[in-house]
């Protein structure tokens, strides 16, 4: 059996973290979301994988290559303009024969998701789950195990069972979707809605892990769910007088200097230089080649690769993208905040700062809770920031 992963989208609501990477490449627990999907497929013995790529496709292709590193065989289909999931699926048509699984490249899943779908085995079927915010998804209504209706992002509440965007299809269904797509239904959900009268479509319920990362602050929550809750794996060099408690992973080539206090779950990548006297609290991921200077406090945060954090900084409930350089004494305390993304307002109870890639921050900068700093910004010494900053802002 083959699988198609739809990974062409950008993930605009996650900006600035999708400035130079597509959403499926967002690191959770120091691995891209897409890698969790590939792992879930491979552990169910589905190794022929077609990735439909588009936005920043090279990032995906040069990470996964031919798939050998993941014990899979990956080929790529291209969707240059991201106009809908049905359109993306058809882009992979020439790779497909027989039965196949379709998945969205930007949902974190475990292997249960795939095995539940396969064990049910009915074709065509849609994997469904319950959701607290059904209005963001395709909501399905059921009669027994058959789907009677599916509505994309309904404005009135019709139920809380949603489509996960994971499907088991065959070639016949692919042709039917293509016909509906040509008639204007560019999304798989719309195409299926149109097909419902003519064709039985089954729902498969799952209790497996299916997590959607929609907004920047979701990264912190999802990262916490992904970190292992037991065991320690310590590579690299840990100097004397370092306290390491709870589940902690430290990668090869990393040096933890004296007086550092690490309370897991904490994941630290390879080649980092941490300390002396740094405190890291749950649940935090730190990428590769990260430098953290003395007297810095990090708690419940995600710090990606190649980041330099100067001394005396305080980072709580904060996401820092790749290549950010912080001179010293950055303050990102967490607190209550209102955030606006597109036209939606959010009241967030515990949030720090969201800082985009390659931003350079001077010393003694204070960032208010809920602030989103764009990619490539330059923030001068002593600035106080709040609200949303566009990419490449210069703040003096």
């Amino acid at each position: 059996m083959k699988a198609v992963i739809l990974a062409a989208g950008e993930g605009m609501r996650l900006r600035p973290f999708t400035y130079s990477r597509p959403k499926p490449m967002l690191p959770i627990g120091n691995r891209p979301i897409l890698e969790y999907i590939v792992d879930a497929l491979v552990s169910n013995d589905i190794k022929d994988i077609i990735m439909v790529v588009g936005y920043k496709k090279e990032k995906i292709m040069s990470y996964f290559q031919d798939g050998a590193r993941f014990d899979a065989r990956i080929s790529y289909a291209f969707q240059e303009k991201q106009i809908g999931t049905a359109h993306a699926l058809i882009a992979a048509k020439h790779f497909l024969d027989d039965n196949f699984v379709v998945l969205a490249g930007d949902n974190l899943i475990d292997s249960r998701i795939v095995s539940d779908l396969l064990h049910n085995g009915r074709i065509p079927s849609i994997l469904v789950t319950e959701s607290d915010i059904p209005s963001k998804y395709g909501v399905v209504q059921l009669e027994g195990n058959k789907i009677t209706s599916i509505v994309e992002k309904p404005e009135v509440m019709v139920g809380n069972i949603i489509s996960t965007g994971v499907y088991l299809f065959n070639h016949e269904i692919l042709n039917a979707i293509e016909i509906e797509m040509c008639a204007g239904a560019l999304g798989i959900t719309n195409a299926i809605q149109k097909m419902l009268g003519k064709q039985d479509i089954y729902a498969v319920k799952t209790d497996g892990k299916w997590i959607d990362v929609v907004y920047p602050w979701d990264i912190i929550k999802v990262n916490a769910m992904a970190l292992s809750s037991e065991g320690q794996t310590i590579s690299g060099v840990v100097e004397d007088n370092v306290m390491i408690k709870g589940p902690v992973v430290i990668g090869a080539g990393t040096r933890i200097r004296s007086g550092t206090y690490i309370n897991g779950p904490v994941l630290i990548g390879e080649g980092c230089e941490i300390g002396p006297h740094v405190s890291i609290f749950p649940t935090t991921s730190i990428g590769n080649n990260v430098r953290i200077d003395p007297y810095t406090y990090v708690s419940n945060s995600v710090i990606m690769n190649n980041v330099c954090i100067g001394s005396h900084s305080h980072l709580s409930h904060t996401v820092i993208d790749e290549g950010v350089m912080i001179a010293s004494s950055l303050s990102c305390v967490c607190g209550q905040a209102f955030a606006k993304i597109d036209d939606d307002f959010f009241k967030l109870d515990n949030i720090g700062a969201m800082i985009g890639e390659d931003t350079i921050i001077g010393s003694h900068v204070a960032i208010a809770p809920g602030t989103i700093v764009g990619a490539g910004c330059r923030i001068s010494d002593g600035v106080r920031l709040s609200g949303n900053l566009e990419n490449k802002c210069v703040v003096v």
């Binding site: 050998a68 014990d71 065989r73 080929s75 024969d97 060099v237 080539g253 590769n288 080649n289 330099c308």
Partner: protein, 596 residues
């Protein structure tokens, strides 16, 4: 990583094995070998790439055989360490991809029982184990042997007097190809696509018995497994290039990851490592050929600026015939493959002259690593495109790291400065990433060069060698005559060649040569030559005086060669693509040059 293949059927095995091995060359290419069975098992091995083996292999007859292409992990790349391996009796031959972790214990045990080993590899224990457990049933012998080993493997074994291949796997890929009256086995389906698209994937802990008429699959205890064959619907080329149009483009896009990997652990090594510990030298000489020589030239600026000691340069082919001077510098030799004949000779010459030697190479255990005192490995991984891209960039990264280390051991680099230099390296993958994100701008700018017959590349200071490398890339793959020049030398001759049909590519970043570069660019523009300039993003003064502009991130000038080189690689790539050139295999050129 290594690659294995096997064939049994009516055809001459050798041709199929060689062809299949070539498809697996991306898995490694430091040595290769094959075993073909007629009456006896005959073995042919050689160092180097498959093409080397192809040249040296005698005409072996036989229709059953196995082959291997190696990327050394345990035991240096040499003819002795190349697979396949025979047992003492010559009854079995075996190829292996993976690592046997407990090979030392097993080897001691087998040697004590009288088995004779011919190599330093972990693999050889497997074939002797099979000999030990053989009591007339090869399957059982393989099963028993594999129970003894810890580690990972994909293996293929042939037995004298049998037309069957036994193949087994644990954590390394293995696939069986089904033909008509013939069957195949390989590490990767790409090796087989010329012959069949019907395959059976072997899973962890399983083994397959492959004969010309059929394939039987078993679990580790010997119970039969049935599995429906799968059909492969993609082509060879697509699979290996992972969606990219050319290997060169794939490798250009791998550079942020290559730089990132090069830094893992090595940044820490600047202060905590052992490289050049307690070594006395007061000058440095860097030696290389081709792109490696350009890296050496950049290295001169890096080391001089970080360590404040004089650095001289030599081409490998010239150094070996020069007369030794009285000084005894630290000699740094740069060779991607570690097999470049001229550079090897230069290494020997340097040792003879009593110099301390340090090699920078990409291939673990290559010849040069045995000819020098110390080795610094670049972490580019196998590079397939003939034009050096990621191997060059990782050479530069190696030179920054070595330069900082020299600065540290010579005590010329303060703690603060070293820290900020390390930060510059940490964000280097990001700078390259930013260049790659703007690939469309470079693609568009390449219009300026597509129809040119001659192009000049000019730069100053640390980016003078970068422009030489840019010119080399362009001529290698687009067949346009390109010359790199130090911008200040232009008026001493080449200015006479400039006219409206001769574009000039200029690097012009805001360092202490900026004003001089600007006036050189004006001189060129005054001769009507179209100018393509590469400078820091947003440089309006520069944009105003040139025809095309490509911006790179504002990095410390000492580190500007890295993003700049990536722009020049993309420029050469897009120019060649628009001209329809065979980018991955330019005429008359080979990947590593092992002739003098």
């Amino acid at each position: 990583m290594c690659g294995i293949v096997g064939y049994t059927g009516p055809r001459e095995a050798i041709e199929i094995l060689l062809d299949a091995l070539k498809r697996l060359e991306y898995r490694g290419y430091d040595s290769a070998g094959l075993a073909v069975l007629e009456n006896d098992i005959q073995i042919a091995k050689d160092r180097g790439e498959i093409s080397q083996l192809e040249k040296s292999v005698p005409k072996l007859r036989g229709t059953v055989g196995i082959g291997h292409t190696r990327w050394a992990t345990c035991g240096k790349p040499s003819k002795e360490n190349a697979h396949p391996f025979l047992d003492c009796s010559g009854n079995f031959a075996l190829v292996h991809n993976g690592i046997i972790e407990n090979h030392r214990e097993l080897r001691r045990e087998l040697e004590a029982e009288g088995h004779l080993f011919t190599s330093e590899t972990d693999t050889e224990v497997l074939v002797h184990l099979i000999e030990k457990y053989y009591d007339g049933n090869i399957e059982k012998a393989v099963r028993e042997s594999l129970k003894r080993v810890k580690g990972t493997y994909a293996i293929a074994v042939i037995e004298k007097g049998s037309r069957e291949i036994i193949a087994a796997r644990k954590e390394n890929p293995l696939v069986v190809g089904l033909g008509v009256g013939e069957n195949f086995v390989a590490s990767d389906v790409t090796a087989l696509l010329n012959y069949t698209n019907k395959v059976i994937y072997v899973m962890d802990g399983e083994y397959a018995v492959i004969s010309p008429i059929g394939v039987r699959l078993y679990d580790s205890s010997g119970n039969v497994i049935s599995r429906t064959p799968s059909l492969v619907t993609w082509t060879i080329e697509d699979a290996q290039r992972g969606g990219f149009e050319h290997y060169m483009l794939k490798e250009i896009f791998e550079q942020p990851a290559s730089i990132h990997n090069s830094l893992l652990g090595t940044l820490d090594g600047i202060e905590e490592g052992e490289l050049l510990q307690n070594v006395n030298f007061d000058s440095v000489k860097i030696i290389g050929c081709g792109s490696s020589y350009h890296a050496a030239m950049v290295g001169k600026y890096i080391i001089e600026s970080l360590a404040h000691i004089p650095v001289t340069l030599e081409l490998s082919s010239e150094y070996r015939y020069s007369h030794g001077t009285r000084e005894s510098p630290l000699v740094i030799l740069i060779s991607q493959s570690g097999e470049t004949a001229d550079t090897l000779a230069a290494a020997r010459e340097a040792r003879k002259r009593g110099c301390r030697t340090l090699a920078i190479t990409n291939v673990v255990g290559s010849t040069i690593t045995r000819e020098v005192d110390e080795v610094f490995y670049t972490k580019a991984g196998p590079e397939i495109g003939v034009a050096a891209t990621k191997s060059y960039i990782t050479q530069l990264i190696a030179l920054y790291l070595v330069g900082m280390r020299i600065g540290y051991v010579q005590r010329t680099l303060s703690h603060e400065l070293l820290r900020s230099m390390k930060d510059q390296l940490r964000i280097m993958p990001r700078q390259v990433n930013a260049v790659l994100d703007n690939k469309e701008i470079v693609e568009e700018a390449s219009d300026l060069l597509v129809n040119a017959r001659n192009v000049f590349f000019i730069g100053r200071n640390i980016n003078y060698p970068t422009m030489l490398e840019g010119a080399l890339k362009l001529k290698e793959i687009s067949y346009i005559h390109a010359e790199g020049y130090a911008a200040g030398e232009l008026k001493h001759g080449p200015l006479a060649l400039l006219d409206e049909n001769t574009p000039v590519v200029a690097s012009c970043i805001r360092d202490h040569t900026y004003e001089k570069m600007m006036s050189n660019i004006s001189e060129v523009a005054a001769r009507d030559s179209p100018v393509l300039a590469i400078g820091y993003e947003g440089d309006r003064d520069l944009m105003a005086i040139v025809d095309r502009f490509i911006g790179i991130p504002k990095v410390n000038p000492l580190f500007s060669p890295v993003p700049l080189t990536v722009v020049l690689q993309l420029l050469a790539y897009y120019t060649a693509r628009k001209r329809g050139c065979p980018i991955d295999k330019p005429r008359n050129l080979a990947k590593s040059v092992t002739v003098e």
